[in-house]
Every structure is written in C-alpha cells, then in structure tokens.
Amino acid sequence: MTDIPEFLKKMIRTAGLSGYESAIRELIEEAWRPFTDELSISRIGSLQGLKRGSGAEPRPSILIAAHMDAIGLMVTRLRDGFLHVTGIGGIDARVLPGQLVTVHGRETISAVVVEPPSWLLPPDDRSGSTSLGGLLVDTGLPADRVSDLVRPGDLVSFASEPVMLGKEQLAGHSLDNRASVAALTHALDLLQTRDHRWDVWAVATVQEEETLGGAMTSAYDLQPDLAIAVDVTHGKGPGSPPDKTFPLGDGPALGLGPNVHPGVYRAVKAAADRIEMKTQLEAMPRHSGTDAYGLQITQAGIPTMVISIPLRYMHTPVEVVHLKDITRTGRLLAEFIGGLEVDLMKKLSWDEEV
C-alpha cells in the first residue's frame, strides 16, 4: 500500500504551481505507474492514467479528476536585490509576511516574503494590511547576485515543511489539492484487488486554481461517461463560519447542487452506505469551485459529482487535513467504481429527488 502521509509530504515538497506542474506530475506518475495500464500526458500537461475495466468492450468509462496544481507567487520585477511578486491562484496577502518560499530562478533559492516598514510602502498600504504589490521577497543575497539568478516571470513556491499534528492530522501548504491526489492514488491502489467493469481514467489535472483548464481539456479528449472531481472543502475550525464548514475526521463531503448530477450523487451515497462510511452533505448552491464546473459542460455534457475532503485554513501555508478523511475518500471512490454496473448510463436520469 502507498504510505499516504509519506507520499503527501513528498508531494508538498515538490513544486507544481498552476501552469508549471511538470515536477509534481513526474512524482505522481511514478506513484501511478504500478496501478495503471496506460499513462499519458494531455496537451496542456494533465497526467492521465487508464485502468481498464473487466466489462465487455465497448466499456463505459469514468474520469476522476484531482488537480495537482498549487497556488503560489510569480516574480514581477526586481528592486535593489528584492523581488516584487504577484499571485498565482487566490491568495490573501495577509498570509504572506514571514512565509518561507523557494524562488525558482536560474538556481533554486531559499527566500522569505517580507512586509516593508510602513514608510516604505505604497500610500494605500500604510494603514490596514499590506497588499500583495507592497510586499517583497528577500533572498538574503546581494543585489548583483539576485539579478544574475532571477528574472520577472520566475515562480515562487511555498517552502515551509509539512508537519504532523499528532498522529492523524497533517499541516502543510498545497494540501489543496495534493490531499485529493493522495485519495485518488489510494483508490487506484485498492482497485488493484477489486474487480470493476468500467474503465477508469485517473487524471491529475493542471491549472485548476486559474482556469479549470486541465479538467475540461482532458474530459474533452477522453470523453468519459461520468466524471467526479475530488477536491478539498472548508474544514470547521477557528476563523471560519460554522455553516459553511465541515468537521475534520467526519468523512468526505458529498456535493449537491446544480454542478452535481442527482443520479450520480445517489449512486455515490449508496456506495457509502454499502460500506457504512460516514459522509457529510455539502450544499453547493452555484459554482462548486472545483474541476467539476468545467467537466460538466464538456462536449455534450457529462454527469458530474464532487467529493471533497475537509481542510482547514485553505490557501494558507498551513492547511490541515485529517488523514482518515483521505483514506475514506479513496475507499469510497473504489467502492463506487467497483459497484458501477455496465448499464448504469441507461438508467441514469436527471431526477432532482435525492
């Protein structure tokens, strides 16, 4: 079995900002190779692993998408050896001062995001909090060395080390959405010893944090019959409204709303009930904020579902997940896939009654 916490820690230490996912993709590729029959890379960089089903051809197929890209920063300009940066993905600038980062220049450089004293800031930043544009990145290196090594467009990723909180929770950056990649990997692992009739496309998608582009394009290419996005959702915890968050350790959250096909929801819920797995219901009144939003409107439309792992402090460098929620999500995926009947698509209807 894949050692989930170790695999996660490895993934967190591997850079893979939206649009620049090749390093993380290689790591996932290595983990998926023994579990898949075919591995390919989409035109824009998503990793697509095929595990063939046992049903007669032509077999239906399901696509499970977990995005592998992470939020981060990009250098916009150099000033006296310091770097100005902009965000890749949604970043609240208030989480940045004092964060350890890696600058991916001509060499890999350790650095820290810093908040200059108020009198050096843009006028609008001198009260309240400092905007992303006012912050700087300091490599500690002299200005001439920095201009040799760094140029605008270079990526800056979070660099703090992941840490176990007790024995069951892991804290680290980029757990959105490496936690889901781990869950999907766990599902592939379980499917090695479990029969399934459908073909399974496991896709580690790119650019979810910017455009959802990875999921849409792979779905267009692979034309699956069903699609599930595995992502993270807000965990209940300090600073977050209780009505929009889910307790850690209480199992995956099953999305319900316009972005979710009610029939697929019922099937996933049924799979959870078969294995007596605790799940939570996540209301998604509009955009699910996941790859499913792109998957659903690909080509002639695909019945989609969203399964989410609760995670605290999303888009900060100290995201926290419960390891059991990850393995449960993997088990649920495997159970759902294993239980897919060959003729499911004929019976599936958009019937809102769940």
Binding site: S110, L141, R312
Partner: protein
C-alpha cells in the same frame, strides 16, 4: 586574537535559535548556553529572575575594569491563555509580535514541543474589505490537531518552529532563522566568555525578560555592579527599497552587510560618548567595518543597566538583522563576525583611564 565565525559557531547558533525562550521562560536557552560554555562557566550563578551570570576574571595585574557584557536570552513569543477544545488554543503575545506576522506559521508549544499551526480564515470566505483590514490577535488560534488534546496547558509558551538556514556563500553568507534577536548576541557572548581578554574582569550577563521591559538586565547590573557595560543585541535593518522609485529610504536604522551597529542614542539610552569613541576608534584601528545605528526608537538591555545603582556608562553593539520579531529574520555572517571581533578588540583595549575623563 582574531576570533572567527566558522561552522562550529553557526551550528551553535542554530541550536540556540531552535530553543524556545519566550520572555519569562528562558530555561531551554540557559541550558544550551551552559552546555556550550562547559568549564568556562565554572564561576556562574543563576539569579532570582533567571539571569545566567558568568564571571571570568582577568589575569593581568593591577586595577582591572569590571566590564559587564550582556545579551538577552529571551525572545518575543506566545503564551497559551485559553482552551477551545479539540486541540485548539487561544493565546496572547509576549513581547512585540505583530498579529500579522503570526498568520499561517508553524509553532511549537510547551516543554514537549507539540507541533501546531496558526491558521487563518480561507480567502474564499472573506470579503474584499476584510482582506485590506489588519489582522486581529483575537481571530487567531493555535491548532495542534485533535490528538494533542490535553497535552497543552494554559500558560504554556509557544514560539515559531525552528527554520534555520544558511543562504548564499562567501562574503555575503547570510543566516535566516527565528529568534536571531538576540541569540546572535548570546552566541557572541559565548565566544567572549570562551576567549576572555585578560585585561578586564568579564562579567557576562545572559539576561532574561528583555522583550517585556529589560527586567533581567536591570537586576543583573545591580548584582554585578560593573564599571561599564556593553550590550550585545540585534537591531533592525530596514534597508529595503522605497515604493516610490525616486524616494531615498532615509529611515533604514541600519544596513545589512555594513558591519556591526554602534549605538549613539535609542529610546532607552544615550550611549556614553567615551565608549562610542572607544568602539569606533577600535574599529578604525583594527580595520573592522562598523556603522552608527540611526538614533531613534528601540531599546536594549543598556536602558536598564545604565540606570542601575549610581549609573553605569553603557553602550550597545548590535548585529543588524532584517525582519526581527518575525518567523524568519535575516542577518549576515560578516556583520556577526565583525561584531565579535570589534567587541573583543574593544575589551582588550580597555584600561581604567577610559573612564577617568568625565563623560562629555
């Protein structure tokens, strides 16, 4: 003697920085200092406030100046003040820590060094106006994960997790760590105690509670009753560019790489001009770089020491550091080494006539 900062000194600094020594609870640092000093600390006491006082008498005959050299062991940190259950704790700051610098940081809590994080509301759940307002301490918690439940007590101290790194190389080799303020001073003082000048009585004060009002140094000076005092600290370098391209940064305080900072005046102390002259002339003679710290705010142990008893001529010498009182401060090895060499040379060049002239 030409003291150097080599890999052994950097390794020791790493150990010192890794220790949690929040003001009022400096035991772990004190233990590390005593271990590092070994026999050199044969003559030591630990006083009522936890100051570690180490005396190294000179060997030269005749009257020797009694010189107190102080460096504070404590750091700005956190104290757990409330239990929100499920391993989540309320806390308050001890010493000057901005809540904005706590967001999204790894911390270690208590004696058992339980791992925790200080999380933050996800951007998805914030409003635009929320994102431009500051960060309130009240909105932050330490999250140790459910498993740590019960292992953390109210009153436990917490500090940033260790993250020591050496950046760059050669002339511009740079250190990045939590608590460089003032473990750099502590490490420098350790080197002085290991290599004491023979012409003075070195009264080393590894002090406590500097960050909450220079409380340790005040009583340490009373006990040591020195002729003069030199304080080793770490002072901010605000040598960052101004947002406006053509504006000169006139408030840099100090600059990284420009040598140790000699204090003339800060909010707490007007340095003794005789000592300012002695230190700057020593640096010039020895060919060591130095800079005068810009006068203004801030304070060091000197503010307590110079007012103790009937007054003690005092001066502070700091290694410049960027981003002090944050999770990751930055200092240059070259500045540190020059600080060590300057203080050692200045002490070695001290004789009683230094104070025979009246203060200017």
């Amino acid at each position: 003697m030409n003291l150097k900062i080599g890999s052994a000194q950097i390794k020791l600094l790493e150990t010192l920085c890794a220790a949690t020594g929040v003001a009022g609870n400096e035991g772990a640092v004190r233990k590390a200092v005593l271990e590092a000093l070994g026999d050199a600390a044969a003559d030591h006491t630990i006083d009522a406030l936890g100051n570690l006082l180490v005396i190294r008498k000179g060997t030269r005959r005749g009257r020797r100046l009694r010189v107190m050299v102080a460096a504070h062991m404590d750091e700005a940190g956190l104290m757990v003040t409330g239990d929100d259950k499920d391993g989540i704790y309320k806390f308050e700051t001890v010493g000057g820590l901005s809540p904005a610098q706590l967001v999204g940081k790894h911390v270690v809590v208590g004696k058992d060094r339980i791992a925790g994080v200080i999380g933050f509301k996800p951007i998805h759940l914030t409003t635009a106006s929320e994102r431009t307002s500051g960060v309130s301490l009240d909105s932050l918690r330490i999250d140790t994960g459910g498993a740590a439940n019960g292992k953390v007590k109210i009153g436990d101290r917490a500090a940033f997790s260790p993250n020591f790194a050496v950046l760059g190389s050669g002339r511009t080799r740079t250190l990045r760590a939590k608590a460089l303020d003032d473990r750099l001073g502590v490490a420098t003082l350790i080197e002085l105690v290991r290599n004491p000048p023979d012409n003075v009585d070195l009264l080393a004060g590894f002090t406590t509670q500097e960050e909450i009002g220079v409380r340790g140094a005040y009583v340490a000076a009373n006990a040591l009753d020195p002729d003069l005092a030199v304080v080793l600290d770490c002072t901010p370098a605000y040598d960052l560019p101004h947002w406006e391209e053509d504006e000169e940064n006139t408030r840099y305080n100090t600059r990284l790489g420009a040598g140790p900072a000699i204090y003339i005046a800060d909010k707490g102390t007007l340095s003794d001009p005789r000592l300012v002259r002695h230190f700057s002339e020593t640096a010039e003679t020895a060919g060591l770089p130095f800079q005068f710290r810009q006068a203004g705010g801030g304070g060091t142990d000197a503010s307590g020491i110079h007012k103790s008893r009937a007054g003690v001529p005092s001066i502070s010498i700091s290694v410049p550091g960027r981003y002090l009182h944050t999770a990751a401060s930055i200092a240059r090895v070259s500045d540190w080494q020059a600080a060590l060499q300057l203080v050692h040379a200045a002490l070695s060049g001290m004789n009683p006539s230094l104070l025979s002239l009246e203060r200017a």
